[in-house]
């Protein structure tokens, strides 16, 4: 398997402009002869579909939702980073690059991260021009706020609904191209396989979710923008429909899956309530700007928060990380919460929670100022918990939120399958082992608006593609495989629902491959998952039929893929014998409990190659070089 990163030579600050010059262009008149398939219409996919349509390519875009506007990017609350330095506080492209490499615990590819920081400034301009109503100062200029892992104020935001507004911007641009006839939009269509011809990605098999019809769509290149796999834990902040199927099917067709064990557990989510719980709700990291995190100093202290005097409270983030305090990065804040709860100092039902307290800020700034900043978040909290956070501290607990791992891509965002590109959360490239807050929106839009429109042109200009017809054996084979699988799922006729298996898998993964992992647990998981998979394929009951809207069938297919992915995640976590970012192996920690990296052996991305069902996947390595940000122990103290 070839893991050539294709990073251009030369100084890091000049790589992207040099590369843009060196890439071949497709003549404007020839662009309309090329077709491109884009799966997923979140920030990355929506932006890519719009931009490629504008350039003149014939684009087909697919989403499982009933509208492209509903992709889960919409739920991002806090903001989007950009190195504008509008605040004159010392920000620069270089600093955003540095913060992101360090925040990712030195497991991302430097050149990709630099490009991301470089492009970040254009993204804000583009979004403003589209009519995204960013927060403004009274003088009319754009406002900023701070986010975890940074000491400058570079986050642009639109109340607590930044993702929604950015996505609507991309969706509007996409709608414009649909109206112009450049993009053909397929809603309620789920991708179930990739079609490869002569080793290149040339199309997809999708299921019309209303009629069950399997359709073949062919093109010159395929772009996957299908998000992350955080729902492997069942409970996560992801939308219920988020799934790994598109990237997993691609993996099984030869695309390497990189760093699957790099998952982000977000520190500030509303704690779990009961068995019936279907998802977890994030409370934006921006709240940590004004909220202080604490637990009682005493174990098992069940007094209400207001009755616990100041000197009996442990503001543990401020204590342990004085220079970043409550704005410590996500992986660190999550682990610290787990630690105090493991010690028996957690609060709320079951002791799985910590306080996020706004009383100091309310006293200092007044309730009005806090209301201006966070009202919609406070309201959401109250709606869910029936508690008023203006009066009592919020209770929060970490939850699965984002996945840094994903399909391996080179500098051009192409996977190990030629013609198959992967953008946004679905790829692995920019966040290393931990993503900083407000960087997901940045990456999705960078990939979609400003990277893939160039790099895909280079591929098309350099590649001679034969015409492929829908009756090509590769198409028939892929459709038959999908059909067979659906038939199998419907035909099991067991007793248990897809959700019940998903819940079981989620619990297992949270216990063994969640916030902290160890060899014993991972080995146990690797024994338990195949057994769970076997029971799934023996005891599942789906009900209904393929030829109609069948949500139970949709879930079943996704759960089947999650079970397979879970095994790869545990394997990857087992093989990475170090702690870094979101991957914390209990065997590898400093005396004071911080992550202990092993740079000598693990300064690389691990990319897994599928070798067949029942055969062990093969681990390949892309070494990572840190030439611009010196490898250092990450410290937020």
């Amino acid at each position: 398997m070839n893991l050539e990163s294709k990073v251009p030579s030369g100084p890091i600050a000049e790589k992207w402009s040099k590369h843009r010059f060196e890439m071949k262009l497709v003549n404007p008149a020839n662009k309309r002869k090329h077709s491109i398939i884009i799966v997923g219409t979140g920030l990355a996919g929506g932006a890519a579909a719009a931009s490629l349509g504008e350039l003149g390519y014939r684009v087909k875009a697919f989403c499982y939702q009933d509208s492209a506007r509903r992709a889960h990017s919409i739920a991002a609350q806090g903001g989007i980073n950009a190195a504008k330095n509008y605040q004159n506080d010392g920000d620069s492209i270089w600093r955003l690059f540095y913060d992101t490499v360090k925040g990712g615990d030195f497991r991302a590819r430097e050149a990709n991260v630099y490009r991301l920081a470089e492009i970040s400034v254009n993204i804000i301009d583009q979004c403003v021009a589209q009519g995204v109503p960013f927060a403004r100062e009274y003088g009319g200029v754009l406002a900023n706020r701070s986010f975890g892992g940074a000491q400058v104020s570079r986050t642009f935001y639109a109340r607590g609904q930044t993702g929604q507004q950015l996505l609507l911007g991309a969706y509007q641009a996409l709608s414009r191209q649909v109206a112009a006839g450049q993009v053909e939009m397929f809603e309620r269509h789920e991708m179930l396989d990739v079609i490869l011809v002569d080793g290149r990605a040339r199309g997809v098999v999708v299921r019309d979710m209303e009629t069950g019809e399997l359709e073949t769509h062919l093109a010159d290149a395929v772009v996957l923008a299908t998000g992350g796999y955080g729902n492997v834990f069942y409970l996560s902040t992801n939308a219920k429909g988020c799934n790994v199927t598109a990237t997993w099917r691609a993996y099984k067709r030869g695309a390497a899956f990189a760093n699957p064990c790099f998952t982000q557990i977000h520190p500030t989510c509303i704690p779990v309530k009961g068995e019936y719980q279907s998802k977890l709700t994030l409370m934006s990291e921006s709240l940590r700007n004004d909220g202080r995190v604490w637990v009682p100093k005493k174990k098992g202290d069940t007094r209400p928060p207001g009755a616990i005097p100041e000197d009996e409270r442990d503001y543990y983030l401020e204590r342990k990380y004085p220079s970043f305090g409550n704005l410590a990065p996500r992986d660190i804040a999550s682990r610290a919460a787990k630690e105090v709860c493991d010690e028996g100092r957690g609060v709320g039902e079951g002791g799985l929670g910590v306080y996020l307290d706004f009383s100091d800020s309310i006293q200092r700034l007044g309730e009005g100022a806090i209301r201006d900043r966070y009202d919609n978040l406070f309201e959401m909290y109250e709606r869910i918990t029936n508690e008023n956070p203006y009066q009592v501290p919020m209770r929060i607990f970490p939850a699965s939120h984002y996945t840094m791992g994903g399909l391996w891509v080179d500098y051009n965002l192409m996977s190990t399958v030629p013609g198959l590109n992967v953008i946004g959360e679905a790829n692995f490239s920019d966040h290393g082992a931990n993503r900083l807050g407000a960087s997901a929106l940045m990456q999705g839009l960078a990939d979609g608006y400003f990277v893939i429109p160039y790099t895909i042109g280079d591929y098309l200009a350099r590649t001679k593609l034969e015409r492929v017809a829908e009756d090509h054996p590769a198409c028939r084979e892929a459709v038959d495989a999908v059909k067979g699988r659906i038939g199998r799922l419907l035909g099991i006729g067991g007793k248990r629902s897809p959700d019940s298996f998903h819940r079981e898998l989620g619990r297992l993964m949270w216990d063994k491959c969640g916030m902290a992992r160890n060899r014993k647990g991972l080995e146990e998981a690797l024994a338990l998952i195949p057994e769970l998979r076997e029971r799934f394929w023996r005891d599942l009951y789906v009900g209904g039929r393929n030829e109609s809207l069948n949500q139970s069938l949709e879930k079943a297919g996704r759960v089947a893929d999650f079970i397979e992915l879970a095994e790869l995640m545990c394997l990857d976590a087992l093989e990475r014998r170090e702690s870094c970012g979101g991957h914390f192996r209990e065997e590898f920690q400093t005396p004071d409990g911080e992550a202990l990296r092993d740079d000598e052996h693990f300064t690389h991305a691990a990319a897994w190659e599928y070798t067949g069902d029942g055969s062990a996947p093969r681990r390949h390595v892309e070494p990572l070089a840190f030439e611009n940000v010196a490898l250092a122990t990450r410290s937020y103290k």
Binding site: A50, S51, E54, Q65, D66, S67, R69, R70, I74, A75, Y86, N122, D125, Q126, V128, A129, Q130, G131, P133, A135, R136, G140, V141, L142, A158, Q161, Q164, Q165, L168, Y171, Q172, A173, S175, R176, V178, A179, E187, A239, K240, K273, G274, Y276, Q277, S278, K279, T281, M380, R383, I384, N386, P453, S497, D499, S500, Y541, G543, S548, L549, Q551, S552
Partner: protein, 248 residues
């Protein structure tokens, strides 16, 4: 608590559909409304019956996917709340609930509580955007926008496109939805060059998609989970009238 549910069941677009009655047992007040339906569905599946189909995704009130009429009210009884954010603590033991899909000519039922809202896509595609190619934008601070203006634009942009306004309206009008997009863009300097054309085309698309007219009932704003103000409809009407009068 235990509840009695009367749920609209309809197998396909062609099917006529009917209410069927189910018991929802041992429901916790902390459950969301959709989690309550999850529990009912798990029970149906265990009895080899087909689960109730309903649209949902983010379950945190922002994607706009979910929506059903509960005892006559779109998204249920609680103000400013989507169905996924509605919690069972709103209900009491023994309550009887009638659960239906959005009812509107422009939103045909696909199955059970799932409707086809693609009519909204037609409205947006008619002009709900700013025509700016990727790469052609000036610096983000090149055009100052007053805080109040940005805030008012945001108030309109907060629309999640769920369709509750249409379901609530006795005329099944999509005026609030359309007005929200026209106002969001029309309030910003970036939206000015196409303001007239946008109003004309979007209103026309709305009419063609089969939505009814506004007769000032105001039910739309009451049902709107994001509290989009009816004043935006007035604003749209002004824009539309001006565009019509000055059309070249």
């Amino acid at each position: 608590m235990n509840l009695k549910l009367h749920v609209w069941r309809q197998k396909s677009r062609e099917d006529t559909g009917r209410f069927e009655t189910y018991e929802a047992k041992d429901i916790s007040p902390h459950m969301s409304f959709l989690e309550m339906l999850d529990v009912v569905n798990e029970g149906l599946l265990a009895n080899r019956q087909e689960p109730i189909a309903f649209d949902h995704d983010c379950r945190e009130g922002i994607c706009g996917t979910c929506g059903m009429v509960i005892n006559g009210a779109p998204h249920g009884p609680r103000k400013l709340t989507t169905t996924c954010q509605l919690h069972m603590r709103e209900y009491r033991d023994g309550d009887e609930l009638w659960i239906e899909p959005w009812r509107a000519k422009a939103f045909p039922v696909i199955r059970d509580l799932v409707v086809d809202r693609s009519a909204f896509e037609k409205v947006i595609r008619a002009g709900g955007f700013v025509s700016v190619h990727t790469g052609s934008a000036p610096d983000g601070n090149a055009i100052p926008i007053g805080k109040e203006t940005a805030e008012e634009s945001f108030d309109a942009a907060a629309c999640i496109g769920c369709g509750a306004c249409v379901a609530a309206c006795p005329n099944a009008s999509a005026m609030l939805f359309t007005a929200a997009k026209i106002s969001h863009l029309g309030l910003l300097p970036q939206g000015q060059p196409e303001r007239d054309e946008r109003a004309l085309h979007m209103v026309q698309a709305m009419d063609e998609a089969g939505f009814g007219n506004c007769t000032n009932h105001g039910e739309c704003s009451v049902a709107c989970p994001k509290g989009i103000d009816q004043k935006f409809i007035a604003r749209m009407n002004r824009d539309y009238a001006k565009a019509l009068a000055t059309r070249k």
